[in-house]
Amino acid sequence: MNTHQNVLVKRNYYRDSLELLRLSDEIKRYPGIIEASLVMGTKTNKEILIKLGFPTHEIAKAESSDMIIALRAKDAGSLIATIPKIEAILRGIGSEQTLNIDHSSTNETHDLESVLSSFKDTNFALISVPGEHVRGLAFKLIDEGIHQQIFSDHVSMDDELEIKRYAVKNRVLILGPGAGTSIINGRGIGFSNAVTTGPVAIVAAAGTGLQEVSTLLDHCGIGVRHGLGVGGNDPKEKIGGLMMSEALKMLDECEDIDVINIVSKPPAPSVQQKIIDHATRHGKKKYVMTFIGSNAYAENTKVKKVSSNRRLTRQPNKIIIASTLTSSVFATAKHIDNVSKSESTMDPIYVKIEDLKRIVMTERKRLKNEQKYLRALYTGGTFAYETQVILNGLAVRPLYSNAPLTKAQLLQDTMRSFKNSVIDLGEEEFTKGRAHPMIDPTIRKLRIAEEASYEDVAVILLDFVLGYGSNPDPVGSVIDEIRNAKLIASKAKRYLSIVAHVCGTRRDPQGYDQSLTRLKDAGVLVLPTNAFAAIAAAGIVAKRHIDFREAYSQFIGEKHLGELT
């Protein structure tokens, strides 16, 4: 089919990535339009446009401060008719005053100063502006005594440290930078799920980790009252766990909390010691310390056992260590059962060893000998990390990632997978100038089709994150690409295994059960947690059969024995 396309560059013309995504989606529905991409001219966006088939020389002219309008139409008439419409919409957006004041406030004002003076008793700010503009805003809000969740990436660690030190001095909580998820009094902020409120609090330096633990607890009938996402840098040496410590102190004072679950990649040794010291010496609650992949980390970095670790092992009824998000949920349930003298049901999120083994063997049998590799395309960064921990533990090699556990596993070209690859699509190289992949499926759609076309690929592993703030239909937005991937493989006379897990609850707006059904109907193997999905994917591609009992012992926890560490 002959198509007509055009690329326009508007110099120094800023719109936020979400406005542009919505506009692109709207324009795609115009008569005769096949593809419409309105994006800022960042490196990633330019690469995506080239992958979409737009001319390189036109795109190359754009700078990151410029907007690119790339259109493809069935005929010249549709193309010509659409361009002035876009210009008109952009002019409309440009003049639109988007300040909406609701509830108690009556004065419609447009700048932060007047909002602060008219919107009294504000106790929280959610910031998602480009990172280079965060510092000034954060200091101003700290001066007003307003707690903050900073979703923005690209904030320097120097700035983060200064902001957090100033916040500690003023007893203000700073969640982030890079914190997409929080729950306060059962209400979700940013990317969050509709979970039951209950006796658990979570302090997380891993956003989708917080979502996974809170949703899995919800499936087991255990509620979460607070979930404070402190940002991935907080447990690093430089930041020193400043906000993790503040959050722990605050939550320790909450009477309606019985269990505090700390979810993070393994913190810097000094931060880990600080957390353990707090829990063992001063802590008033029961704790789960979910340091994802902590066993592997300790082996790799040869962390010496500190005195606090010895104290830790002497308090098994107070503190449980977990190394995956799934085992973290079982550990939390164990504490809750001890407090409430009850027995939680873990069945909704558990897959029996023999069942998983059978599923994996069925998939393996359908593959050709040359199909050897796994390609994980994640929207959730914590899932990408946890999966690498599991794949490394189960000796799936060679393994590469754009966000690797070790430098040796760094993927050279993030736009192209190599052998076994785990791609975190939420990493900064993919999000500069475009919406997070939990909202914008464009890059993953392209990657699914690409991975399916390689004859050595056996498995595509996916996550779907439901909840507030996410795409209105995460499964629906890529289901055609999933079906097409299966079709590409079947036309080439091979079977492609697609494994997925859905992070969400039955009260999330996107519909948990419908999401599962649509995936299963498309031939996707759906597992209840990311850890189970990763073990299944490992079992399908592993050169030798994996030891499922050992895998469960390391990454799931012996549910029935209650021994998790």
């Binding site: 800023y14 936020d16 990535s17 979400l18 406005e19 988007t98 300040l99 909406n100 004041i101 609701d102 509830h103 108690s104 406030s105 447009h110 700048d111 932060l112 909002v115 602060l116 919107f119 008793d121 504000t122 106790n123 929280f124 700010a125 959610l126 910031i127 998602s128 502006v129 480009p130 280079e132 503009h133 510092r135 000034g136 805003l137 809000l141 005594g145 307003i146 707690h147 979703f151 923005s152 003023n170 007893r171 203000v172 909580l173 306060i184 009094n185 209400r187 979700g188 902020i189 940013g190 969050s192 607070h226 102190k249 605050m250 004072e253 909450c254 919406a435 909202i439 507030y468 703030g469």
Partner: protein
Amino acid sequence: MTNTQKKLLDTDLKVINIGMSIFYDALKVQNIKVVQVDWKPGPVLDKLSEEILSKIM
């Protein structure tokens, strides 16, 4: 816990959303009091210029 901290955990949320409107919508759906600030990027200053400017303003 200080009064500022109690204000967060013991009272209803009242949120200023600065940035992506999808988060504003998500808060409104949960009946959380929220105000959207119409934010557009200003110039990015280096730290020294920022400090000088903050002293003279």
